[in-house]
Symmetry: C2
Subunit: 982 residues, 2 copies
Amino acid sequence: RSGLSKTQQIRLISVESLKPSDTFARRHNSATPEEQTKMSESVGFDSIDSLIDATVPKSIRIESMKFSKFDEGLTESQMIDHMKMLASKNKVFKSFIGMGYYNTSVPAVILRNIMENPGWYTQYTPYQAEISQGRLESLLNYQTVITDLTGLPMSNASLLDEGTAAAEAMAMCNNILKGKKKTFIIASNCHPQTIDICKTRADGFDLKVVTSDLKDIDYSSGDVCGVLVQYPGTEGEVLDYGEFVKKAHASGVKVVMATDLLALTMLKPPGEFGADIVVGSAQRFGVPMGYGGPHAAFLATSQDYKRMMPGRIIGVSVDSSGKPALRMAMQTREQHIRRDKATSNICTAQALLANMAAMYAVYHGPEGLKVIAQRVHGLAGTFAHGLKKLGTVDVQGVPFFDTVKIKCADAHAIADAATKSGMNLRIVDSNNITVAFDETTTLDDVDELFKVFSGGKPVPFTAASLAPEVQNAIPAGLVRKSPYLTHPIFNSYHTEHELLRYLHRLQAKDLSLCHSMIPLGSCTMKLNATVEMMPVTWPEFANLHPFAPTEQAAGYQEMFDDLGDLLCTITGFDSFSLQPNAGAAGEYAGLMVIRAYHMARGDHHRNVCIIPVSAHGTNPASAAMCGMKIVTIGTDAKGNINIAELKKAAEANKDNLSALMVTYPSTHGVYEEGIDEICKIIHDNGGQVYMDGANMNAQVGLTSPGYIGADVCHLNLHKTFCIPHGGGGPGMGPIGVKKHLAPYLPSHPVVSTGGLPAPEKAEPMGTIAAAPWGSALILPISYTYIAMMGSKGLTDASKIAILSANYMAKRLENHYPVLFRGVNGTVAHEFIIDLRGFKNTAGIEPEDVAKRLIDYGFHGPTMSWPVPGTLMIEPTESESKAELDRFCDALISIREEIAQIESGKADAHNNVLKGAPHPPSVLMADSWTKPYSRDTAAFPASWLRSSKFWPTTGRVDNVYGDRNLVCTLQPEVVEEAAAATA
Amino acid sequence: RSGLSKTQQIRLISVESLKPSDTFARRHNSATPEEQTKMSESVGFDSIDSLIDATVPKSIRIESMKFSKFDEGLTESQMIDHMKMLASKNKVFKSFIGMGYYNTSVPAVILRNIMENPGWYTQYTPYQAEISQGRLESLLNYQTVITDLTGLPMSNASLLDEGTAAAEAMAMCNNILKGKKKTFIIASNCHPQTIDICKTRADGFDLKVVTSDLKDIDYSSGDVCGVLVQYPGTEGEVLDYGEFVKKAHASGVKVVMATDLLALTMLKPPGEFGADIVVGSAQRFGVPMGYGGPHAAFLATSQDYKRMMPGRIIGVSVDSSGKPALRMAMQTREQHIRRDKATSNICTAQALLANMAAMYAVYHGPEGLKVIAQRVHGLAGTFAHGLKKLGTVDVQGVPFFDTVKIKCADAHAIADAATKSGMNLRIVDSNNITVAFDETTTLDDVDELFKVFSGGKPVPFTAASLAPEVQNAIPAGLVRKSPYLTHPIFNSYHTEHELLRYLHRLQAKDLSLCHSMIPLGSCTMKLNATVEMMPVTWPEFANLHPFAPTEQAAGYQEMFDDLGDLLCTITGFDSFSLQPNAGAAGEYAGLMVIRAYHMARGDHHRNVCIIPVSAHGTNPASAAMCGMKIVTIGTDAKGNINIAELKKAAEANKDNLSALMVTYPSTHGVYEEGIDEICKIIHDNGGQVYMDGANMNAQVGLTSPGYIGADVCHLNLHKTFCIPHGGGGPGMGPIGVKKHLAPYLPSHPVVSTGGLPAPEKAEPMGTIAAAPWGSALILPISYTYIAMMGSKGLTDASKIAILSANYMAKRLENHYPVLFRGVNGTVAHEFIIDLRGFKNTAGIEPEDVAKRLIDYGFHGPTMSWPVPGTLMIEPTESESKAELDRFCDALISIREEIAQIESGKADAHNNVLKGAPHPPSVLMADSWTKPYSRDTAAFPASWLRSSKFWPTTGRVDNVYGDRNLVCTLQPEVVEEAAAATA
Ligand SMILES: Cc1ncc(COP(=O)(O)O)c(C=O)c1O
Ligand SMILES: Cc1ncc(COP(=O)(O)O)c(C=O)c1O
Ligand SMILES: O=C([O-])O
């Protein structure tokens, strides 16, 4: 014994053991090495590597992945240090640039309790309404903010940004007029990025966009479907659009107005002018600028066009007890149902940011918002007044809300002087400048501006001294008279305690990754690690204007460059664009790149896009947006693309073939062996291969789109690369391309961008998003994930994700048929269980199983996609074996509950599945008439006894809600506020 | 109409309206001006001011309060900017100082989800066990960490810091030996601050402290009760205490060991040496150094002495259904029951930090902790090895864990060179330096140190190159062999998802201010605003060593100075000490200041302390700790101090009178009219007035302790000044004094401190806390609160707090007798409702009402203190009228439920009150045998239907738990971990 200790005493120290111990990969990848072996053995392999070798086709398997930077992975504290270093390279100047982006005071209580709170940011899109009533209420609040302020009755629950919202509105105009009028006019008082996005988007619709001065707008061609104007205009002017709208309507032209929510607290709302569609950004309602995003955009319209609205819409319905309950309304409009006929390709939107903006309105209330607006307006007025006194420049005599337009001899000289004082102005052209004020501007700032404009001479007054002589500049006819935000929710929670509790009451209703795994097939709900999230709310990342001089954003730029490089290594591509704000936006952007490539080669006719039936709805919807002709091909019995059919289709369309859209591994959860052959067939017939990167979590480090043969691919950073789902957004959908496509990557009219790394020449196909690098603020999440994991950690993640899926499939296969497997009998990183049989044997549908899973404390998997009547399960690498087992236990237990029905022991119509989910109000009701016990309903698994997540409503009735569409707060509908303030 | 718009258009702009709009006071003070008027009217006053005039005695009312800084109050964003500025003045150097404070990697998931999460930090002390099971489990984990690592079976749930823990252990030794042996020996290998605290504390016990070299320790006097040694020693040495303990025990001397948790993962635990009591700090288990605190200290002992342990102890019991449930055990030891006979005066401890430390152990697990320890040890070894090679200094040849002791020619020169490289070393004396390593040290750091020690010459090796030749320096006999942290909880949650969910599962069981008001009389559970909390986790505040050169902490020092000034203005005092870490510590410190004052004047005999019966238990307990003789005086029928009795007592003790301890407004919730007279009586009889500042929330801006006539007072910053309660700490109890007492304010042996502002001369009475400025890290909370509120906001807070209490008392008075009122019939900021009558009429006790309140979603008020059979309600200014009304509605509804019993409609033993609280498991059980309905049990108020907080256990049995004492995790007891990992 003392000998043993002796040995221990002289144990030598290894360098390895002295390296920092706060490594990250083992915190993210949940299965321990021992568990990995155990799990591999249970699926018939002696190690995880042999499982992977058997699963990923040899022909596409890469040797290994190596990063030129971060290959080993940083530890958590090294990562924080690195991000601090990057942050210090960003210079936060005061921004007076405007153009749709304004500094805002994010209320700290919202920052901490929503934006920095995994209870909110790790939620999934509220498809399971019964465990999503909190964010559904908040999104209903958002819709109410939008409808109340715009004066139009219908709003969606966010779009990606103001520019794409305008493009969606343009598409609506086209649709309203059934595609018969092919001109869309954009007034030149719109933001340049809005104009460019619409121009790019119009291309695909075969629509002609005409930009015109307001006064020159001309509908005489008879071919105009719509017109877009901005209110207030991009250079600040506040115009009365009364006559304008009348004139447009008289010509059968629909009017779209881009507007500003803060201004609308003081200005006559667009709805009162008769605008048909109103769009804009809710950013300045308490969402940081973040060098471009993410922010929630909005789109409101009239009742007439509600079924043509793009995006998700929250509506009121009832639950199984007849109590009011919320859920997503009119989903039949959306791409996952209507595919290429959908109103839009949008899927992931900006739910988290919409919630922040809604809560900003809840916190300030109508009066508080008006105080802010009047202050901003007053500061602008004081500034304009002072400039007139100074007399050094020529203040334009138009009414304004927050933006003052100035004619001057040398705009650049003035802007440079401002920069020297830490302030950014907008240079409109060499003789025009605008100065936009916001909530954070102070009287001192105005004094600083006076100094800039006085050209070094002493300023004989201060902003404060001027204020009393300044007059409100809003024309009488444009002063808002109609009330807004009158619902109790906007008039009750104005103190921090009240708002805090409202936020937590809502949060408590919603299941998130803080509770249990959310195994949504095709959605990759993995860990959103805290270290990844921390930089997002640092001011050096959060408070930069997207159009600030790039030298002020050196930290961001360095990160973009490195992220571009890392993503190229991961995907096997040559260049990346960080502009698209979601997967669907990436698809559209990628297809447009392909289109531009064909065009550049004179192949204008190449417009056929082959898409397998199993593709996600966004694929056909995106292709449709590019004006492509869609040729659908089927799958074989094993779920693989029917290569013979593909080949036939490709050859038949040889002359006009533009692209194939293909998801890999397939949406069926299988590594198709023929993928390299498929790529070859497409290339041989003149087409390009677009790979949908949604399933990238099964590729990283094992293979890559580039290696397989794809030409372009989007990545869902909000799936594979850890951006949290936020209850339905934000997301990021950057696209990677092969060298020959790199020149066509999108640019931006204000800050020119392109591929990262930059290709030799650039012929950008247009603009895809309002901000040059999309939602830059959330890129640190993916960047830190990659940098902390290193190449090995990421490769392990893919392997463990695959292992986890196979482990679960194995545990479940005796209870549920597992649909589709690869040649070696294994599945990829997700798999499908088939419930179709239960329809006959027990009257059970996938929805019943999903709802019953709620009683077990789980969020149901992807339902009935890609195959109706099935559930698709994607566990990810971040779930521990214990958690996978719990989920399997739940499903196996439910299978036994189904067996009870099959055997007649349980009633076919009145059983635990049909009755699910069971909220406390039902479980505790005095009368209980179900044929099963309360205990069986509430506690079907042992772990629920020590801790259970309760659904707050019974099953929500979707049909009722769509029949009785209510999409804003109604005093009688949402009782909560009333109760809370009783 | 157009005329009207015209007016609107030319409305002028006021300077006022251009000031920043993100003001704070209106977010903190919840009642709007309109509500204030309404509430005032309902209590019979036309305005809040006339209510206040009628309530606060004219004789003590101050005109107004004015700050020399921040008088107007900063807005939220101005505050953040100001704190960033202060933060930038703190320089975060690498610390190798050690001495009980080590840098640590706070796991980000713990930082965000506990320390930055109001769901954890706004919890109250877990007196209501049924809505506190989450933090109770976490504290049980903490106790298990302590007992497992120290090798002793009993631990408390934290003490204030290591130094005071040692002093508590000293007091225990004194008690164990029944005060018969009056010498306590402290080995000189203890931290200097520990030694000084014990010396100061010993004074009051009439104990002689002898400091001695280990080898010179001598028990031959026969008068030694205990001995304190440190393991590892303050200069790093790791000694075998086997023989030492045997020898002490042979002389009947108890052995206290101060130790280090991280070291104990590698070292033989003190319990195995036979130590009787073990103390230390859990700081390096993931709690930031914070320039001194807050951190959780621990104290462990054997079964024999468990009833002598100080502080709160969590234990296992059963609930009304017989299921395991946790609660605070053996409360009969504590000051609130035993008063001057208590084991200690401690009340508020360090729950939040204990939870962080426990979670750090949960996250790393036994293996992970050992890896960290081995790494730290390895780095220290590598450093020592390198120094020997360099040969420039003399590395001391003692075994060490993390701290290397070095003899050198000029310690200051070396330390200065280190400082130039951004590193702080410990200068022991002019020829000795120690270098302590920690979790955050890297190989690069060791290389930097080599450079410092090489005196500018090139270092011919690197730490990495040396490592392979370095040997473990722990002697064979001291290598730990016993297992630790074997419970599943420490072996399951090692990935971020698992820990995140564990944290959230626990959080979901606990009611906090995120849910509803917590109207704890005498505890002032007000808003803990987010902006106040934000700087606490900034690295520039969090990562400073308390003994770093003060010039590196210029931001902190500036804040201390300003906070001292502000607190002086608020209290009417002349100087403040920021050292005491809780209210009770402040009491003790304040009394010791008074004692020192008397001593300095030759009044050694003045040792009588008059304390009213209504005083908080900490008052007599603190007086006892100062060796004072307590004379208790009564109150009259109106709850006021019996002035005649007081006068008699003062005069009778004239010659020996030391102090009066008095709480103002009284603990009965009344502004006693005679308070100025009372102060005069005490002064006339040679005594000093100690005012307990717990009720300061009723004074700020209206009167002040100094103005009233007190000589010294502590402030509970965790009550009046917004430090959150954290589920039972942290707190801060700074003391303010009049000029004549200022010289005696505590100092510190390592960094000398004293009054703020500093008095002309200083004769410090000793040391009160381990860190010079106590829990410096949480001082920004109070500082920002004061700075954002400004003098008017703070005064309004006091007024509204009083208004709220009066409003509630009015609403409740027809339902419950309201005990005690001032001369005008009003109450102060809190009030007492009398439930004693219900004992006879319905068999109902205060506990029944408190438990039934849980069913209504509320935390019960203070129970049976200061008057048995009552509830004391303190609403604070931060609760909205809506929330006050909800709470009143609940109490009124409960009164009706009591009436049902009184009238015989409800059963006397089996009713909703006796059955409360009702957890889901009971409410959903298949069988329901109660005479009332499930619905009545679960949903007694309308607001519960839309959102309800569920208790997780039935009523917890306190007696059972104390009879069957279990204070650590038992595999069979805590099922959760098992379930979660099943
Ligand atoms: C296969 C596939 N492609 C594309 C998308 C669309 O991505 P996004 O929601 O980011 O627009 C999804 C979304 O789930 C998907 O599963
Ligand atoms: C009147 C009074 N004095 C003193 C204290 C002790 O303060 P602390 O818990 O900070 O030690 C309390 C605590 O509730 C109290 O109510
Ligand atoms: O969100 C999806 O439609 O998959």
